[in-house]
């Protein structure tokens, strides 16, 4: 019986009185990259830590590679790596020491892979962690996360705050490792362009709730922006199903909506538009429009 690499079923998690995740349900299949996007506090990090077994859910069920992270934490963590933005590395250790230390803690550690990555990322094994730049620390964290050959890689904004060159380097290393392993990746990031580059599917979280989920092509194909020109003043508001964002500027009305091409154009022409142009959006534009709209959650309406 094959399990999804990561499965959340109605998972809820509170931090005191703050609801961090609200009945989240999602599945990540093996061999896919799931992009997890959302604003700060949307629940991305919480989702990853729950999957890693570091946090426990208040309600719902989590399965990772068929294991329960709550009761089988160490087993899960031996097959799943978490690479986070602020990787906690011991500042007094040298690069070689920390890799060796991590290797002795991990049953699936691949020293050859670690050495290869270390060389490829140009890390000096004698350098102390405390003397490394932020980028090099991120590289060390990447080696630590990848050299244990995880079946699931959880990435929590690992390239945030890094310069484009290092970001590219790290992303390439991740993609390289993935192509070899064929594991599942959950990639949570604010950097939507990076997510767009690597993700097969995308999930948008907002306020701990799932707002949008689907493959990247599906999401992009479903959400469109239409520019409609009216004879007179464009209406300031319109009632369209799946409408996420409406902006009016004189005779021009710009609408972002989740609808088929023909439906959106027909709806705008029905409002009296003289001309309608429909264009595709980038993931970032879709995300911004979705988060601005504050519309209903994905389970209720936006499931693509």
């Amino acid at each position: 019986m094959s399990h999804p690499a990561v499965l959340f079923e109605g998972v809820t998690r509170w931090f005191g009185r703050v609801l961090a995740l609200d009945r989240l349900t999602l599945a990540v299949e093996a061999g896919t990259v799931l992009g997890l996007v959302g604003r700060n506090g949307a629940g991305k990090t919480t989702t990853l830590r729950l999957a890693h077994g570091i946090l426990h859910p208040d309600a719902g069920r989590i399965g990772v590679l068929g294991l329960d992270p709550v009761t089988q934490g160490p087993e899960v963590r031996s097959r799943v790596s978490l690479l986070s933005e602020e990787s906690s590395l011991y500042p007094w250790m040298r690069v070689g020491e920390i890799l060796d230390f991590a290797g002795r803690l991990h049953p699936r550690w691949d020293p050859a892979l670690a050495a290869g990555l270390q060389r490829r990322l140009d890390l000096d094994p004698r350098a102390r962690i405390s003397t490394l730049s932020r980028g090099n620390r991120a590289k060390v964290a990447l080696v630590l996360a990848v050299a244990c050959r995880p079946e699931v890689l959880l990435l929590d904004d690992p390239t945030a705050g890094l310069d484009p060159l290092v970001r590219r380097e790290i992303l390439e290393a991740i993609l390289g490792a993935l192509s070899e392993e064929g594991g599942a990746v959950v990639y949570a990031s604010h950097l939507v362009h990076d997510v767009e580059r690597v993700a097969d599917r995308v999930v948008v979280l907002d306020g701990g709730r799932l707002r949008l989920e689907g493959s990247l092509d599906e999401v992009k194909g479903r959400v469109r922006r239409a520019r409609a020109v009216f004879e007179d003043e464009a209406p300031s508001s319109i009632a369209l199903p799946g409408c996420m964002d409406v902006r009016s500027d004189g005779r021009v009305l710009s609408v972002v909506a989740e609808a088929a091409n023909g439906d959106l154009e027909a709806a705008l022409r029905g409002l009296g538009a003289r001309s309608v142009e429909v264009e595709p959006l980038s993931l970032e534009e879709i995300l911004v429009a979705l988060l601005r709209s504050g519309g209903p959650a994905a389970e209720e309406q936006a499931n693509v």
Binding site: I54, L55, H56, S84, A102, R104, L105
Partner: protein, 668 residues
């Protein structure tokens, strides 16, 4: 994996180890410099100058290492090991690895213990080197300071456990050090508190309060383990789990003390009875068996202990049955759970062991001086007055709950209550002058009117002898008194009828005389190694009962004075202080010897019943002092108690072959 974890923790603790060894190396220099500066009037540690270099090195330094440096470094190391990663934000490194948290916890503990052990060995070696190099390490002179080292190791262990527990509550090492210090001190403080407040809750001299607080140590370890190894790795619920475990430890320590204290007091009394024969206070109804710091009211028929009475750490101040055996008065300072009251208290129990009357507390600054004496329903009491050398006569009336002064006060040990009259009265004795001379002394017999709660000012009799034994001279009805009179032949004892003040012509008794019911007298006379037991009513002719050769006879009336226990032991064995302190009797003439009664063998134990003139011979094994430290006495009107180490046995005169056991059991 585990070795890697220990390696990492050890590396993180190394700076502390070096700092500790550095401090250990500096301490001798600081002490010597401080002492030298003190001699020059410069040192802020001025008292150091009072110590010689040898004292500093050999006596002071080991204590400072063991009781200050090691525990404080252990506390720092524990806090650093368990909180350091959390404070530095590196805790997630291990949490994100496939490492069981109990492995991390154990590795930290091993690293801390290794660090502390290395520190102890290192600083001890430095101390030996320093003291040896200075020439002050004189093994022959005794290394007194070394005696502090085990205490130091103990304090270090406490610090490790306290620090471990504190680290599960706090993430900052410095705060954990402070809290850990509190946790480490808590069992010690609780020990002092419980042992000091409840000294009576003890077993074999070991206060229970010294034992139960140490439950906190495993509780603290558990609190740390539950906080750091169980639940969510992210830390949610850690504080709750640790708090519950620590609070449960405190609760268990206190509850186990509360639950165990009554049992401990009972056990202690039982054990005390194993080493020293318990004392049996008989009465017509029940008996009270006193052993160590406790006692029991015992049902004579079944030998069941119907109630335990705690005596407090200093034992009972007095135990007295009422004449009818229905009320037991006990004076003690015992409080709940082995605690001690500031003032003595009188407790009254009925024959079922239930509180008979409300307790009475003696007035402030007064203490019960002597065994209370029942006089009908009243209880005259001699109470010491704190801060003086005097004691005062009080009268307690349990039925009305009053305890009032009778207005009589004199120097302690120079007066005492000696007995009661048939009416609502009592007698006390009082020395004529302040001093207590050796040998026979003159004293006054004074009547106490208990109804009026006052002492009649005029003495009714002036007598000589030992007033301590005056209670044996007053007849049960209070009508007759055995007066001591000096004659050319020696001391003779004359019966005086107190209401009329007249001396009766007969009988002349001896110092062994005891009163029985109906104001009957029994006594012994000894001439040329032959001892004869006699009985008579006041004014009547003596009737010989029995005689022995080479015997010491001890007479013990039963609680209702209907019977007398006659114990005949070899003359060399049984002479007690009583006989020695009372003046010798004038020897009766040879013509006084007529022996119509049977000849006795020595040793033998008999019960004589004057009403029926019946003798009952008891088994020889019951003779006090014959077979080990056993004591035979009355437990009830027809019940004998045999008390020995760990055993109190009751025997009915009518069923001597069916002993019942209050403590212990039949010999195996």
């Amino acid at each position: 994996m585990f070795r890697a974890l220990v390696w990492k923790e050890w590396k993180q603790l190394r700076p502390l180890l070096f700092a500790g060894i550095g401090l250990g190396a500096l301490l001798p220099l600081v002490l010597v410099a401080g002492a030298e500066a003190g001699r020059r009037g410069l040192s802020p540690l001025g008292r150091l100058s009072a110590y010689s270099t040898r004292e500093l090195f050999v006596d002071l330094l080991p204590g400072m290492l063991g009781l200050a440096l090691w525990p404080s470094m252990a506390l720092l190391a524990t806090a650093q090991a368990y909180c350091g990663d959390r404070a530095a934000g590196t805790e997630w490194f291990l949490l994100e690895r496939p490492v069981p948290r109990r492995g991390i916890w154990t590795a930290r503990l091993i690293a801390v213990l290794s660090m502390v052990a290395t520190l102890a060995v290192g600083t001890a070696a430095l101390w030996l080197l320093t003291a040896g190099a200075s020439g002050d390490l004189d093994l022959d002179g005794g290394l007194h300071g070394l005696r502090l080292l085990p205490a130091g190791l103990f304090a270090t262990g406490l610090a490790v456990i306290g620090g471990t527990a504190a680290a599960s509550f706090l993430a900052q090492p410095l705060a954990a050090v402070l809290l850990g210090g509190i946790f480490a001190f808590l069992p010690v403080a609780l020990t002092f508190l419980l042992a000091g407040s409840f000294p009576g809750a003890a077993i074999g001299g070991l206060p229970l309060g010294l034992v139960t607080p140490w439950v906190l140590l495993p509780a603290f370890v558990l609190a740390s383990y539950l906080g750091l190894c169980r639940g969510e790795p992210g830390g949610r619920g850690r504080l709750k789990r640790s708090s519950v475990a620590a609070a449960a430890g405190v609760a268990v320590a206190l509850v186990s003390f509360v639950a165990a204290a009554p049992a401990a007091m009972r056990l202690d009394a039982t054990w005390a009875g194993s080493s020293h024969p318990p004392r049996v206070h008989g009465s017509p109804g029940r008996a009270c068996v006193v052993a160590g710091k406790g006692g029991w009211i015992v049902d004579l028929a079944s030998a069941k202990r119907v109630r335990f009475l705690a005596a407090g750490p200093w034992g009972f101040e007095g135990v007295a049955w009422s004449a009818d055996g229905r009320t037991l008065a006990v004076a003690s300072r015992a409080s709940l759970l082995g605690g001690v009251r500031a003032r003595s208290r009188l407790h009254f129990y009925d024959d079922r062991g239930r509180p008979g009357y409300p307790d009475m507390t003696v007035p402030t600054d007064h203490y019960v001086s002597d065994v209370p004496t029942w006089a009908g329903t009243a209880l005259p009491l001699e109470l010491w007055v704190l801060g003086t050398e005097e004691s005062e006569l009080y009268v307690a009336r349990p039925q009305t709950g009053t305890l009032r002064s009778a207005g009589f006060r004199a120097r302690t040990w120079q007066w005492g209550i000696l007995g009661t009259t048939a009416g609502d009265g009592a007698y006390l004795w009082k020395l004529e002058n302040g001093a207590i001379p050796k040998g026979p002394v003159a004293y006054d017999l004074m009547r106490v009117d208990l109804r009026e709660e006052r002492v009649e000012p005029q003495p009714i009799l002036r007598d000589r002898g030992s007033p301590w034994f005056a209670q044996w001279k007053l007849s049960p009805t209070g009508r007759y008194w055995i007066r001591l009179e000096q004659s050319p032949a020696g001391w003779t004892r004359v019966i005086r009828e107190l209401p009329t003040g007249t001396d009766l012509p007969a009988p002349r008794v001896t110092r062994t005389a005891r009163w029985l019911a109906g104001d009957r007298l029994v006594w012994t006379e000894t001439t040329r190694g032959r001892t004869r037991l006699l009985t008579a009513l006041p004014g009547g002719a003596p009737r010989p009962l029995r005689e022995w050769n080479g015997a010491d006879i001890e007479l013990d009336p039963s609680p209702d004075r209907a019977l007398v226990l006659v114990m005949a032991r070899p003359a060399s064995a049984g002479r007690g202080r009583t006989e020695r302190r009372e003046p010798e009797d004038a020897a009766p003439g040879p013509d006084a010897w007529e022996s119509p009664a049977g000849r006795g063998v020595v040793p033998e134990l008999l019960v004589f019943e004057p009403e029926t003139n019946r003798w009952t011979r008891l088994p020889d094994r019951l003779i006090s002092g014959v077979a080990g430290p056993w004591r035979t006495s009355w437990a009830g009107p027809r019940t004998i108690a045999r008390a020995g180490p760990g055993v109190v046995e009751l025997l009915d005169l009518d069923r001597l072959d069916s002993p019942r056991y209050v403590l212990g059991g039949p010999p195996s």
